[in-house]
């Protein structure tokens, strides 16, 4: 990987617009989901990760398109196949005035995977890695195998202070005594369910934030969030419901910001059971699982009118998807187009596969996880029903759905035959969906953990595994693209669309939309 040079404030400069005069201004933001802790290592969850970024920094930052940027590390490079060297930024101070050094990095890396009661540990990103202090401003990360995604993984970890943070409990972070980072804002208060307040860190090493104080308020109901913005309770809201976007566009007092996310919505099909539980013949009898036939899977893809989903269900706020990540991300293929809507072709292909009479099945999906998820499932069912696959719809809360979809059947196998799911590539590149969704389910290697259709193709697996060993960026890009092409050609999964996220702010403010769906006060700029 090419050596990344320090360009102070490049990262921050992209986010916070040049705010010449530092003013005393308060910003109130309505969030859709509540962060559950101030401890940056407690729960690996979008809202938490976004919130803790205000108080803490990471060695490697991600910009609004998840490209890696220097953070507390000014540069990083692989010094040999198994060692990555990170050079740390000098002169950075924690909110309590202490200096940031390699000791803070070492203790952070030790603490992050081992937080008691953590429901979702950051150990996922630190597995097989050891950290070593070389001098005060140099650390080495070592692995047993060549590992190209070191900087991506390290970019998930927020750095806490050796003195105040590493020995602290999650409660101490929540109460504020340990919530001391190097970030652009300082902790002020955390009232669960009600509000989180942070104030400007005037001594921030990067661009000082525009806002003197920021309050985050969780407002989970979509219409209420919009109403709160319109009533002036909050200055900006995240996750504007698609149904309200057209109305808000017509209002002068509101300014919308939109950006495609790293999240693809896709269909997964049972490809491992001869007799799939929710697939039946037209007369209700058992049939050999048609979803195992690649022609049937392709026919399903052709039967889906992605433009209709985008235009009618998503009200134009989504992008039709032909692969696992939108263009512009690392590892996407240039050769893949969105599968064209072709119901006649789908019928012909089904007939060719021996299903001229069609069959029936059930699509299962969550109803509170993705934007308009239940309505998408219903639209897909309508479209499949039109080409002869009589499709029933069953949607359920995600709390019930994901458990059943992952291991609801006997032997901890996936329960459903045909499901609607989404995947956000946290690492911001294509290996994330490839290794979790496409690669053969393999507990030993830790691959395919979300492969709920149990698609399995040795050749694709080989491409993915090779990519994950290849440190050379150009070669890895080609391998990931090739794996994606093969997976799509096999209809391992059927992508329908990429989510587009919308933020709304009162006039005069604009949010720099992010692919990682984070809502950051540093991204709110005045116009």
């Amino acid at each position: 990987m090419k050596k990344m040079r320090a360009a102070t404030a490049v990262a921050a400069g992209l986010l916070a617009l040049s705010a010449g005069a530092v003013s005393a201004e308060k910003l109130t933001i309505g969030l859709a989901s509540e962060p559950t802790a101030m401890d940056p290592h407690f729960h690996n969850l979008g809202p938490n990760n976004a919130l803790t970024l205000h108080i803490f920094d990471r060695l490697v930052d991600q910009d609004e398109r998840q490209r890696l940027m220097p953070g507390l590390a000014v540069s990083w490079e692989a010094v040999d196949d198994l060692t990555w060297e990170f050079k740390l930024r000098e002169g950075v101070k924690f909110h309590d005035g202490s200096d940031f050094t390699a000791d803070d990095v070492v203790c952070t890396i030790e603490r992050a995977p081992n937080v008691p009661n953590s429901p979702s540990s950051f150990g996922t990103y630190l597995k097989g890695k050891t950290v070593e202090k070389i001098d005060d401003y140099t650390v080495h990360f070592k692995t047993a195998e060549p590992y190209p995604l070191m900087a991506n993984d390290i970019s998930t970890i927020r750095i806490i202070s050796d003195e105040t943070g590493c020995g602290a409990t999650t409660e101490e972070f929540n109460s504020g005594t340990a919530a001391i980072g190097t970030g652009p804002f300082k902790f002020v208060s955390y009232t669960p369910g009600e509000s989180i307040v942070v104030e400007r860190n005037a001594d921030y090493w990067g661009e000082a934030p525009v806002w003197s104080e920021v309050e985050f308020r969780p407002i989970s109901s979509g219409p209420s969030r919009v109403a709160a913005l319109l009533a002036g309770d909050v200055d900006m809201i995240a996750a504007v419901p698609t149904t309200d976007i057209a109305t808000l566009e017509g209002k002068d007092e509101v300014q919308l910001s939109q950006g495609v996310s790293n999240r693809v919505i896709y269909l997964h099909m049972d490809q491992f059971r001869e007799n799939s539980p929710f697939v039946k013949a037209m007369d209700g009898g058992d049939i050999k699982n048609p979803l195992m036939d690649v022609r049937v899977r392709k026919a399903i893809s052709m039967a889906i009118n992605r433009d209709a989903i985008v235009e009618r269900v998503m009200e134009g706020v989504a992008l039709p998807a032909g692969q696992l990540l939108p263009e512009g991300f690392f590892g996407v293929s240039d050769n893949l187009d969105v599968v064209a809507y072709d119901p006649e072709g789908a019928k012909a292909l089904l007939a060719e596969a021996g299903y001229a009479e069609g069959f029936q099945m059930t699509i299962h999906g969550p109803n509170d996880r993705y934007i308009n998820d239940a309505r998408i499932a219903e639209a897909v069912a309508q479209m499949l029903t039109r080409v002869g696959i009589k499709t029933a719809v069953e949607t359920m809360p995600r709390s019930v759905y994901f458990g059943r979809a992952s291991r609801g059947a006997d032997g901890d196998l996936p329960e459903f035959s045909f499901i609607l799911v989404g995947w956000g590539a946290g690492s911001g590149e294509a290996s994330s969906p490839l290794k979790s969704l496409i690669h053969t389910f393999d507990s030993d290697k830790g691959f395919g953990s979300s492969n709920r259709g149990r698609h399995s193709d040795p050749e694709t697996d080989a491409l993915i595994e090779e990519a994950l060993r290849t440190v050379d960026d150009a070669k890895r890009q080609d391998l990931l693209a090739a794996a994606t092409e093969r997976a799509i050609d096999n209809a391992a999964i059927i992508p329908t669309h990429f989510q587009v996220n919308t933020w709304a702010a009162k006039a005069g403010l604009k949010y720099v939309a992010r692919t990682d769906e984070y809502t950051l006060a540093t991204g709110v700029v005045k116009e």
Binding site: S118, P119, Y125, T170, E171, S221, S224, A228, S449
Partner: protein
């Protein structure tokens, strides 16, 4: 009286234990919290580790015994999601819900009973018919729908009060509440009204029904015959009789207010325990769900007890006793 209360408390204890079994097992058959908690990036090992860390790999009866052991020491378990003790989390959220439910109940009584009294006394007047028609609307419309309409009208269109959230709090007589600040009152008005609508209708109907029934009874006729003023008949004799069903139902309704606060708190982003509960249910934060329900059970047992005692004070014919029990 004392014997009665002690006996009721002992029975209550039994109820609580029984309830803990039902609730614990009930909650634990729903869904699979692990997939709600782990990051999608987690591999199979991470998932197994998370299952073990949360104690979900143990058989359910063992989990229950552990829960019971903790409960006896006042520990109802840690929230999966917040990592804090569930009890503490609920206690944090409780004041907001209590002040909301209390305000709603007060609104229901202050608005509902006089209107009901009027509608009962002058049942043929157009105003009474209007009141009754309004009361029917009150419980015919779904709470969530009315809530949004209230926000649209009072907060967005008219801009009189804020749309969401809880206002500043102040401490008065040792109680910290948003009821003591103007900002707090302006925040609580809409959600309390939304929550109260159903109960206002109920109070109107109960009071009216009671008044109409009482007016036909002999004691009212006697009172009239004795030459008592209408005012005295209504406010002393009639009111005393109709208060029994009203007190009973309103007492019971306080719980339903807390139950319905789930919806109101969701719409108004009110940081109470109803919101905490629905989030816990949707995210399968089992310890919080169990702790919440246990607290509610306790709470209700106390309310029922108070209602029964009030009963006896209001109607001497109802004796406080459990014959033979």
């Amino acid at each position: 009286m004392t014997v009665f209360i002690i006996r009721r408390l002992l029975q209550a204890l039994l109820v609580v234990v029984l309830m803990s079994v039902i609730v614990f097992f009930g909650v634990n058959i729903v869904g699979d919290p692990v997939y709600m908690l782990v990051s999608p990036d987690a591999d199979q090992d991470d998932i197994a580790a998370a299952i073990a860390r949360l104690g979900l790999d143990r058989p359910i009866w063992e989990q229950y015994l552990l829960f019971l052991k903790g409960a006896l020491q006042g520990d109802l378990g840690n929230s999966f999601i917040f990592g804090e003790p569930a009890l503490q989390l609920i206690m944090h959220h409780m004041p907001a819900t209590m002040e909301l439910a209390f305000t709603a109940l007060m609104l229901a009584i202050v608005i509902g009973i006089p209107l009901g009294l009027y509608a009962g006394l002058y049942s043929e007047s157009p105003l009474s018919k209007g009141i009754m028609a309004g009361s029917i609307l009150g419980f015919s419309l779904p709470t969530f729908w009315v809530g949004l309409m209230l926000i649209m009208l009072f907060a967005v269109e008219l801009g009189w009060v804020p749309a969401t959230g809880r206002g500043d709090t102040a401490t008065f007589l040792g109680i910290q509440s948003s009821l003591f600040t103007p900002d707090g009152l302006s925040h609580i008005f809409l959600p309390a009204l939304n929550l109260a609508l159903l109960k206002i209708s109920l109070a109107i109907r109960l009071t009216r029904a009671g008044v109409r029934e009482a007016l036909g009874q002999d004691y009212v006729k006697y009172a009239r015959a004795k030459g008592l003023t209408t005012r005295r008949i209504i406010f002393v004799h009639v009111m005393k009789n109709i208060m029994i069903p009203v007190v009973t139902v309103m007492g019971l309704e306080f719980g339903s207010l807390i139950g319905f606060s789930v919806v109101t708190e969701t719409i108004f982003a009110w940081p109470g325990m109803g919101k905490l509960l629905i989030d816990a249910i949707l995210q399968l934060d089992r310890p919080v769900v169990v702790a919440y329900l246990m607290i509610i059970v306790l709470f209700f047992i106390v309310i029922n007890l108070i209602v029964d005692i009030l009963y006896s004070l209001l109607d001497p014919r109802v004796r406080l006793q459990d014959q033979g029990a």
